[in-house]
């Protein structure tokens, strides 16, 4: 008698993750309706006005002086699910400063702002699908999800890919962070191998002597094939 094949775990987190308190009133309760093919969603925005932008951006040189904190280089490739690089695609990044404070009026927690750091940048991948940011390693950020809750240090990434379907917003984390076990957003991703793909790798080849530690972080976006979402296995 053949054993039933076990379904592979889904990549993406479920909508409802009760340990992440905000999902309790915002997660849809009804399952999504599956669309087989949609011309509109398979299209992509035309960003002609930004197509000329560089594949590299330096968030430490946006103000009069240099920001406080560990200078880091974050670099990698944007790939499709066949591991082919996606050239000419927009990558947006935003983050807190080294003290864990965001330059956003809604963040008023008692950590200092840095007059030399805003924490946002945008690049367009080069012909090899590569991007590169120079920035400051962000600090952990306290939030009110539960008592003594702290987000692990993270960078927010926003990707487009080849169509509206491949659009992804995610977060990049740093290796060895002691807060992973306590974070309900990181742990909302059900599979350990998938969670590991959210963690950048320290990379000596990207590291520049006397200048900055380097991290590599590749992002893999879905292509045109239907991707199993939460609760579905393909």
């Amino acid at each position: 008698m053949a054993l039933p094949a076990s379904a592979p775990p889904p990549v993406h987190p479920p909508s409802l993750a009760p340990d992440y308190v905000s999902t309790r009133l915002r997660a849809p309760l009804l399952p999504p309706i599956v669309l087989a093919s949609m011309a509109t969603e398979s299209a992509a925005p035309v960003f002609a006005s930004v197509a000329h932008e560089a594949a590299e951006a330096d968030l430490t040189r946006q103000h009069g002086g240099e920001p406080i904190g560990e200078r880091i280089i974050v670099s990698g490739h944007i790939l499709d699910e066949d591991r082919r690089p996606i050239a000419g695609t927009v990558v947006e990044l935003w983050q807190a400063n080294a003290a864990g404070r965001y330059t956003h009026e809604r963040d008023q927690h008692p950590a200092p702002l840095d007059p030399n750091f805003s924490g946002a940048g945008r690049v367009v991948t080069d012909a090899d699908g590569r991007y590169r940011f120079v920035t400051i390693k962000p600090g952990a950020y306290p939030w009110r999800n539960h008592l003594n809750a702290w987000r692990p240090a993270h960078l927010h990434f926003s990707l487009f890919g080849r169509s509206f379907l491949s659009r992804l917003v995610t977060q990049m984390y740093f290796p060895g962070d002691p807060l992973f076990d306590y974070d309900p957003i990181f742990n909302a991703v059900p599979d350990a191998a998938a969670r590991a793909r959210l963690v950048a790798s320290f990379d000596l080849a990207t590291t520049q002597p006397e200048w900055a530690l380097g991290y590599r972080f590749d992002i893999v976006l879905r292509g045109h094939a239907a991707t199993p979402l939460e609760g579905e296995h393909g």
């Binding site: 592979p8 775990p9 990549v11 993406h12 987190p13 479920p14 992440y20 905000s22 999902t23 009133l25 915002r26 997660a27 849809p28 309760l29 309706i33 669309l35 509109t40 969603e41 299209a43 992509a44 925005p45 960003f47 002609a48 006005s49 930004v50 951006a57 946006q62 699910e81 947006e92 990044l93 935003w94 965001y102 956003h104 809604r106 805003s118 946002a120 940048g121 945008r122 927010h156 926003s158 509206f164 379907l165 659009r167 992804l168 917003v169 995610t170 957003i185 991703v189 350990a192 998938a194 793909r197 959210l198 590749d218 893999v220 976006l221 879905r222 239907a226 991707t227 199993p228 939460e230």
Partner: protein, 196 residues
């Protein structure tokens, strides 16, 4: 390459969080413009000018004041971005807006043309926010379009839920038709969301 999970090695989604504005709806760096905004129609864009006025509500009926909305649509001739022969049109086909303190968002665009005789005009809409671990994907249809009756995507929606995808038109008083669209994330009259 085969990974341990069945997702083909895809990078998982995470929430956009509450602080995206300075990274996504404001200019990110000196010398750069915001990637997209609430205005999709330039002077050369074919189609009837309309305003899409939406509101996002949570499972308790409270307004969601920290959501990010993105729309993608064809122009008034039914051409999706990137498919029209080169013209002087400034049509990017894409818009982005954050909800305000009342949970509302507004786009100034054109009524999209039909992609085929069977399909009704529609706008693809993506939604991100604190408390949303994935992007939610839906569509906006228009209450004055007879092709809604033959649209293949609306046909997949249970009849008692179709109304959640239909924007209601009214005269704005400025000669531009206004379409109102409510997104209810959870609970009674929950908006239909799609998976692809």
């Amino acid at each position: 390459m085969v990974d341990a999970d069945g997702g083909g090695g895809l990078t998982p989604s995470q929430t956009v969080g509450p602080f995206f504005h300075f990274g996504m709806t404001a200019p990110p760096a000196p010398g750069q413009a915001a990637l997209a905004d609430q205005d999709l129609a330039g002077p050369g864009t074919p189609g009837e000018k309309i305003v899409l006025l939406g509101v996002v509500l949570d499972g308790a009926g409270h307004s969601v004041s920290d959501a990010l909305i993105e729309i993608l649509q064809a122009d008034g001739s039914g051409h999706l971005p990137g498919t029209r022969p080169a013209t002087n049109s400034e049509f990017r086909g894409f818009g982005r807006a954050a909800t305000d303190a009342e949970g509302t968002f507004r786009f100034r665009t054109v009524r999209p043309g039909r992609l085929s005789p069977q399909q009704a005009p529609h706008i693809a809409l993506g939604l991100f926010g604190r408390g949303l671990l994935n992007r939610l994907l839906t569509r906006v249809y228009f209450d004055d379009e007879p092709a809604n009756a033959t649209d293949p995507v609306l046909a997949l929606v249970p009849p008692d839920r179709r109304a959640t995808l239909i924007a209601r038109g009214e005269d704005s008083g400025h000669g531009v038709r206004l379409f109102r669209f409510a997104i209810r994330l959870q609970g009674p009259d929950e908006t239909v969301f799609f998976a692809t």
